[in-house]
Amino acid sequence: MRALKAFLLGAVAAGVVAYALVAALAVTAQAGGRALEIALGPLAILSVTHDGTSTVTTFGPGLVVLALAGGLANLAAAQLVRHRSGPPGDRVD
């Protein structure tokens, strides 16, 4: 259960941050009238293309892969932290 929580929270965190950054890049490219393509190897993350008068923005499956990678990274970090953590405290950051 703890491992699942760590994975899910890491995946959500990475997914949200990646989406926000990619969305900012996309609207900036759109506003500047520029084409943009970002990919993770063969997996597209973002594609902004201009076709005549219209602009096409596509979020690719690379975003999902980034989220999953974030989940795995958080899971691994949680395993490391687990051995060094003390008893729960009385505060939240």
């Binding site: 703890r2 959500v12 949200v16 989406y19 969305a23 609207v27 900036t28 932290v81 729960p88 939240v92």
Partner: protein, 271 residues
């Protein structure tokens, strides 16, 4: 840094009664010895005066008394039981800080920051949010200004025109901090709580709650602000307003607090 002109005050929710120091937030009390009681019965007086009085009362050399009093005050302040009321101008304090930092530099250390505890009203969600925002207001403004200045520097380096983007990033960064803590406090409805700032850290001290509620409280802060960031990104994209999407980035970055990098994520993961 605590100077002779600074004054001590018991933090909100802390009382000194019958030789015991009681904390309503932690729901605990600690007995004090004679010299501890002597110091805490002299709150709202200058630290220098307390040092003189304790040196006279206990027949101690002044420097010994000063060391003992300051160690005691630092310890209580680190536990957010005592606030240190600053005297003198901000400029004077800044100069004192720089001088002390220069003296500590060879040891690779910085002056220890003083903790400040502020009261929170958790009787209802609106009160909790309002009291949290009021308690964090000065910090929100400071963070917004610093973030704006940093963003202006980056903006100048990359040659981006205008102040709108740095301003949006700075305001969103500051507001994100305030909303993050407000969401924590809102989820602590009915639980005695206090907001503590110490150096760059801001945290909510609260009474013990069940493990499940503890996880909910920890998740409430980052999830609320990150959701707002995503809403800004979606709304900005839908409206064709890049500035809204950019402002959503610092808000969405609060999602990183869900990971074990942040204290909230460690609590939520049960670590």
């Amino acid at each position: 840094m605590i100077s002779d002109t600074d004054r001590l005050s018991l933090a909100p929710g802390v009382v000194f009664q019958g030789g015991r120091l009681a904390d309503a937030v932690r729901g605990d009390a600690w007995p004090l010895n004679g010299s501890g009681a002597f110091v805490l019965s002299r709150t709202h007086r200058p630290v220098g005066q307390i040092v003189s009085e304790i040196a006279d009362a206990f027949s101690l050399p002044l420097e010994t008394a000063r060391g003992d009093v300051l160690r005691f005050v630092w310890y209580l302040n680190a536990l957010a039981l005592v606030n240190v009321e600053r005297r003198g101008t901000r400029i004077r304090r800044l100069v004192d800080w720089v001088v002390l930092a220069a003296r500590l530099a060879p040891a690779g250390a910085l002056p220890v920051a003083v903790a400040r505890r502020r009261a929170l009203d958790t009787r209802s969600v609106p009160r909790a949010v309002a009291s949290s925002l009021a308690a964090t207001l000065s910090r929100v403004v400071a963070v917004a200004i610093v973030a704006t200045v940093v963003a202006v520097q980056f903006s100048a380096v990359v040659g981006a025109p205008g102040i709108a983007v740095p301003l949006a990033l700075g305001i969103a960064t500051g507001i994100g901090l305030g909303l993050h803590e407000a969401a924590h406090v809102a989820s602590l409805r009915g639980v005695p709580s206090a907001l503590v700032t110490r150096g760059r850290r801001t945290y909510v001290l609260h009474a013990a709650v069940s493990p499940t509620r503890r996880s909910v409280v920890a998740l409430a802060g980052p999830l609320t602000v990150a959701a707002l960031g995503v809403a800004f990104a979606l709304g900005g994209a839908a409206l064709g307003a890049p500035i809204l999407v950019i402002a959503g980035c610092p808000l969405a970055a609060h999602a990183l607090s869900l990971t074990v990098v942040g204290g909230d994520g460690r609590i939520a993961c049960g670590l």
